[in-house]
Amino acid sequence: MDSLKTIKDTAAKWIARRGGEDWSAADESELNQWLNASTGNLIAYTRVEAAWREADRLKVLGAGFPPGYVPDLEDFRASPFFKHVAKDSAVMPARQFRDEIPTLAPRKHWAIAASILILFAGSFLAWMFWPGGAAYSTPVGVTAAVPLSDGSKITLNTNSEIHVTVNDQARKVELERGEAFFEVVPDPLRPFIVSAGNKQILVLGTKFLVKRDRNDVRVVVTEGKVTVSPASASSSADSVLLTAGAIVEAKGKKLVVRERSLSEAEELLSWRSGYVIFHETSLIDAVTEFNRYNTRKFIIEDPAVAAISISGNFRSTNVDSFVRILEDGFPIAVERRGERIILTAR
């Protein structure tokens, strides 16, 4: 077996070659062979690939330097972009994630504007030019991460699409469909605005999750602050400030704010690890969620079956395992017809 140094060097060679203009299908096949040859190869490649993708965030550092000039550390230190960053990251205290109940502004009913965050992802991510920016989308069952040129990062969930416009003046993301998790770098000169249909969310530099289902929008804040205001806000007094743990749901003109502990809110991010989590969820709601991640769809027509309560963590793309659990633990009969899985009472 190759030494670790050889494996790491080979992985780096592959990454360096892969971005080249003369990359061919034969190269791709050779790479896959090497990756499949051992887990060690795959891990070394994954590690260097992740570093390579993270480096896309360097783009934001380019603003403020003339083309052709390669800045050094002193140039970066002097940049106003990093003025408020604790340069020594050892100074930052560790965070506790249990049982944090944030205080929220009083609830009001609003027309909600949805914000969009865009994330950047690897090979499964479809990317295309879109007037004024770029579009990214994921197929069913796939999540993907997208770094933005301002240093922010977006993770797309299954079957989602975003349109991004980031330039010197503005940072805008349109959530066309699906769900995305945003990690936004604050920039006082360029507000970050996410929109979903006729709704708009202004981001103050934070981490949060947006989900869109036609005109219903849900926002979950897991770090920092998000301001939600009506699209036609006349003054900032109309805004609702949301902090970590807040879940906002906008259906039509109604805006409902719920407070949750941060760990509960973060469960809504479990899809990033390939899981869905249910807490005494009705089976009809559970399979609706499952169906987002799979082309084989569950169908329930029996109200008794629809009302069955289910709890647990499930792999979002493992349909067969979920079916087995239903058959074993509940009075449910399963019938498969092509791409449909029909659940009836047993």
């Binding site: 965030r57 380019g62 550390l73 960053v85 990251s89």
Partner: protein, 193 residues
């Protein structure tokens, strides 16, 4: 290739590498072996996760590392009198590990900037032109007056540096350079292409 498993691995496992290396350094006397230990731990974690994702990735990572080290001692790979702590105390050490600092997005960016600024001049130039100015390999080769092969070589070294700095941090850089002969930022670049 299982993309979502790899994404999970990067996000939930590799993110703990600095803490993992610190942990290993407290009890494993031979520092040149730590990279190997780390790599073998990753292999076990990945293969296990492919069958069933662990509920607590961080704890699973450290427990796996501890088992691996215990295995190696049992097989006589190391002389135990040199060990600063015995293996039983590793149980305590796992609970003792301070939680990872959670960085906000801007701090993450600063960390990346530091790593980038620490690159040897020749690599830094090329990485900047590729990632920020988004030039093609051909354009870079013309701009810098070097062959495309040389451009590729610099990318190769540049990304290895960034990788060490991003996942490993300073301590890992030292270990990495010792074990793999990669130059640290304190050594002058020798203009290799």
């Amino acid at each position: 290739m299982n993309e979502s498993l790899r994404e999970w691995f990067v996000r939930e496992i590799l993110v703990h590498e600095r803490a993992l290396v610190r942990f290993m350094m407290r009890v494993w006397p031979d520092r040149t072996e730590i990279d190997d230990l780390c790599h073998d731990t990753y292999i076990r974690v990945y293969e296990s996760a492919a069958k069933s994702l662990p509920a607590s990735p961080r704890a699973f990572l450290f427990t796996t590392a501890r088992h691996l080290m215990a295995d190696r001692v049992r097989r006589g790979r190391i002389v135990s009198i040199e060990m600063r702590g015995d293996l039983d105390s590793l149980n305590v050490l796992i609970d003792d590990i301070s939680p990872e600092q959670q960085l906000n997005a801007r701090q993450e960016l600063w960390r990346l900037t530091e790593a980038f600024a620490a690159l040897p001049q020749s690599c830094r130039e090329v990485m900047w032109l590729i990632k920020v100015e988004e030039l093609s390999r051909k354009q870079i080769s013309e701009r810098l007056g070097i062959t495309p092969k040389a451009v590729e070589k610099r990318i190769e070294r540049g990304v290895q540096f960034l990788e060490q700095a991003y996942f490993g941090g300073k301590q890992a850089e030292v270990i990495g350079s010792y074990a793999h002969g990669i130059q640290t930022k304190d050594e002058p670049g020798h203009g290799q292409s």
